[in-house]
């Protein structure tokens, strides 16, 4: 019986592991956890106003025939402060933005809006992260593109930088 090919098996296994490891090193790692909700309708929720003087937010407020951005933020989140000018720019470009404030206090949200401006149409307060979890979001800030019929089309993880603004506007336009 000729078993000499068997002697090369360890080398073959090593080569496979090596190939796998090389792949792991070369291919950039996507550390972000994408929401499983992309492509689905918004989950049902109804949030109270995040602070005095803003409108509450429920899923029926979106998907009313107009595509919008849904921005998840918090007054205690530093990247959220950094993305505020970009949200203002989007609003100035005619984009409607709804917000959800995560684990926040009304007075802190008010102070945040005073300092960084209020680009939002409505802001729901999600003090227990319940809606955030339903959306499949794992952090703040995150921004979703919601289609005119309420479908979640796209999830942007992390703060919106200047270079992301045209991309988001494109995505919104593409929904029409």
């Amino acid at each position: 019986m000729n078993r000499s090919w068997l002697l090369w098996a360890p080398l073959a296994v090593t080569a496979c592991i090596g190939g796998l490891a090389t792949y792991g090193l070369v291919v950039p790692k996507d550390e972000q956890v994408r929401s499983a909700m992309i492509g689905q309708k918004l989950p049902e929720f109804a949030l109270p106003p995040a602070t005095q003087g803003v409108l509450p937010l429920s899923n029926t407020d979106m998907g009313d025939g107009k595509p919008r951005l849904l921005n998840i933020f918090a007054s205690w989140c530093i990247p959220c402060k950094a993305e505020a000018p970009q949200l203002e720019a989007l609003e100035a470009a005619g984009v409607e933005i709804d917000g959800i404030a995560i684990r926040d206090r009304p007075e802190d949200v008010a102070a945040f809006l005073d300092e960084f401006g209020n680009p939002y149409r409505r802001i729901g307060g999600d003090s227990e992260m319940a809606v955030q979890l339903k959306l499949g979001s794992s952090g703040v800030p995150e921004t979703y593109v919601i289609a005119a019929d309420g479908t979640i089309l796209f999830q942007h993880i992390g703060d919106i930088r200047t270079e992301h603004v045209p991309m988001l506007i494109e995505k919104l336009k593409a929904t029409k």
Binding site: L7, L11, T14, A21, G24, V27
Partner: protein, 643 residues
């Protein structure tokens, strides 16, 4: 100045390794090997230079010379002295220097001490050793220079990860390195013996102490790491099947198998090709472990020094060494003659069973560790966790334990069932009775904890059986070593099974003055106080745990470090003979109603896990020292052969 001297010493040591390798190559050619006489002196000088470089780095850490980049990044003028010194190897560059230093010093030791194998085989072994060292020198000098300067020098230093600021952990990595390097020597011996066609008992006896030593260090290193994770991470678990834990477990599994098969080769001249294979695999696993830790390609709590360039370097070294070794294996193993025959029911057969089960566990762990990577390659994101590992490894471990009840009692070459039938019946009876008793006492316990406890009870008896009928004073030390190590395994498995079958847990929020109950203990939170250490502040719970009228004070802490800012939890452990009470306090509830989150566990017999591991290592040490002592007294004759 010191830094430059250290660097120069490293370059010189690398050139010594090169000389060793080139001189070894001349050996391969049919001639006598013109440069061969250079090999031993080169090995000595290489060891001395590396030792110098390592102590130079340690000196720089001792005086906290912040003009050295590594010191500035990893030390701090306010750090306690012991951690300053531990900082020498508590980082990527320093730990690689330690690796190479141990490698070189071991090379010198082989050159100086090894007299049993043929001169040619020894030269080949040292040449392989030089080739290995050369790769790591290149790694140090080209991509991880520990002596790099920083201009201008900072005034304070950037601290050390506070999680790593722990006496246990200061000694955990070097312990594992001793293990990994020991296996590199087994690797060099194996390749040397293959190249010079000397795979036989003499080679096995030369290799065995290194395997045994490596295995002892790996055992201690893994146990220490497990205990550290247990009390420092505050999750109450002692093994998480984290990729980096697996990275240290895989070489251990291979080394355990190798340790057993090398004994067969040394005593009985059987299992030749298999022993060589295991020696290569064991070192390949050490390299893979180093690669997994350093490259950060798998997500792990341990991932420090994540750097793709270094990852690629180690990967290249791993593939080079392992690949070349397997090529040599495939080409040369045909020249290794069949070893002595044996029957299935024999000591050899038992050890083959041990090897098969250990190899299966190793394969299961390897596949589970690499699977997420393979899944990612086809576009899936998966993490493989304890459910897979436990389900896949525990049944094999049960078979391994069953084999261990009988294996050490078997005779070499062949044995007959009749001789052992009473012991078979006895062992089965102990197993069955233990199962029934546990089941009666705790019917809700799972099948594996039940089997684990029953098997460990049976093994605790079976482990001592090889001493039956022997004159204890004349019994060779390695037999005692084996008995103690197997008994240690029983102790350790008992702890694991009891902990996983009978732990109880309470998670609650307590205001000062309130109390909570867990497993018959009443734990009262008296007060919470701020405390401060060298470079941290903490809130400390003042708790009293009471059971049966006895009271004990517990002080769990939630620590906050400044450089770098980080939160850690210091669990309070109350150790009783039959288990541990484990208390963790967290920062106050967000609501701010004056309650503190408190988590309590009662973990029955959990300390047995680590005591068992220490016994296993002790058994190894007794066998190792016994052999070394014997060798100086009498000419080489295997202790196990003496049976």
């Amino acid at each position: 100045m010191i830094a430059e001297a250290g660097l120069a010493a490293l370059w010189l040591a690398a050139s010594m390794a090169l000389i060793q390798f080139i001189a070894g190559l001349t050996l391969l050619r049919a001639g006598t090997g013109l440069l061969v006489p250079l090999i031993k002196p080169a090995a000595y000088v290489q060891g001395a230079l590396c030792t110098f470089a390592f102590f130079a780095l340690m000196w720089l850490f001792y005086v906290t010379d912040l003009s050295v980049l590594l010191v500035a990044n990893n030390s701090h003028i306010d750090k306690p002295l012991i951690f300053k010194l531990a900082g020498t190897w508590g980082n990527h560059e320093g730990s690689m220097l330690l690796w190479v230093t141990i490698l070189s010093v071991s090379g010198s030791a082989i050159a100086f001490l090894e007299k049993r194998i043929e001169a040619k085989t020894l030269s080949a072994t040292l040449a392989v050793q030089g080739f290995l060292a050369l790769g790591f020198f290149a790694f140090l000098l080209f991509s991880s220079n520990p002596f790099e300067r920083l201009v201008p020098a900072p005034i304070a230093g950037a601290g050390l990860n506070p999680l790593l600021q722990d006496v246990g952990l200061a000694f955990h990595p070097p312990t594992l390195y001793f293990g990994y390097v020991g296996l590199s020597i087994a690797f060099s011996f194996a390749v040397g013996a293959l190249l010079t066609n000397q795979v036989g008992p003499a080679f096995a006896r030369a290799m065995r102490p290194w395997v045994l030593g490596a295995w002892i260090f790996l055992t201690i290193g893994i146990a220490a790491g497990s205990y550290w994770a247990y009390y420092e991470l505050g999750w109450g678990g002692w093994w998480f099947w984290d990729p980096v834990e697996n990275a240290s477990l895989m070489p251990w599994l291979a080394a355990t198998a190798l340790l057993h098969s090398v004994s067969v080769l040394a005593s009985r001249n059987a299992l030749r090709a298999w022993t060589i294979m295991l020696a290569l695999v064991a070192f390949a696993m050490s390299m893979a472990g180093t690669f997994l830790v350093r490259s950060g390609i798998l997500t792990s709590v341990h991932a420090f020094a994540v750097d793709p360039e270094r990852g690629s370097f180690i990967l290249a070294l791993m593939l080079l060494y392992t690949g070349l070794a397997f090529v040599i294996f495939a080409l040369r193993i045909g020249t290794v003659k069949q070893g002595e025959p044996f029957q299935l029911l024999s000591r050899e057969g038992g050890i083959v069973a041990n090897n098969i089960f250990l190899s299966v566990i190793l394969a299961v762990v390897l596949i589970g560790t690499l699977y997420p990577l393979a899944a990612e390659a086809v576009g899936d994101k998966i993490s493989v966790g304890p459910p897979y590992f436990n389900k896949a490894t525990v049944p094999v471990a049960v078979l391994l334990m069953l084999a261990l009840l009988v294996g050490p009692l078997l005779r070499w070459r062949r044995d007959d069932l009749g001789r052992l039938k009473y012991w078979f019946i006895g062992a089965a009876a102990i197993l069955l009775l233990s199962c029934l008793a546990i089941w009666k006492f705790a019917p809700e316990i799972g099948i594996f904890p039940l089997l684990g406890i029953a098997l460990s009870i049976a093994l605790a008896v079976a482990a001592w059986m090889p001493l039956r009928g022997r004159k204890l004073l004349r019994t060779p030390a390695p037999v005692f070593g084996m008995v103690i190590a197997h008994f240690g395994l029983a102790v350790s498995v008992f702890g694991m099974a009891a902990e996983s079958g009978f732990s109880s847990e309470t998670l609650t929020a307590l205001a000062p003055g309130e109390s909570a109950k867990v497993a018959g203990w009443e734990v009262k939170l008296n007060d919470v106080n701020p405390v401060a250490g060298d470079n941290w502040v903490a809130v400390e719970g003042d708790m009293v745990a009471a059971k049966n009228g006895n009271e004990f004070v517990l002080h769990p802490q939630s620590r906050h470090f400044f450089t770098p800012p980080m939160q850690t939890s210091e669990a309070a452990l109350l150790t009783r003979w039959n288990g541990q009470l484990y208390a963790v306090i967290a920062q106050p509830d967000q609501e701010g109603d004056g309650r503190w989150q408190v988590r309590l566990w009662w973990k029955p017999f959990v300390t047995f896990i680590w005591f068992g591991a220490l016994l296993i290592a002790l058994g190894g040490a007794i066998a190792l020292l016994g052999r070394m002592f014997r060798r100086t007294k009498k000419p080489a004759r295997s202790a196990w052969q003496a049976e």
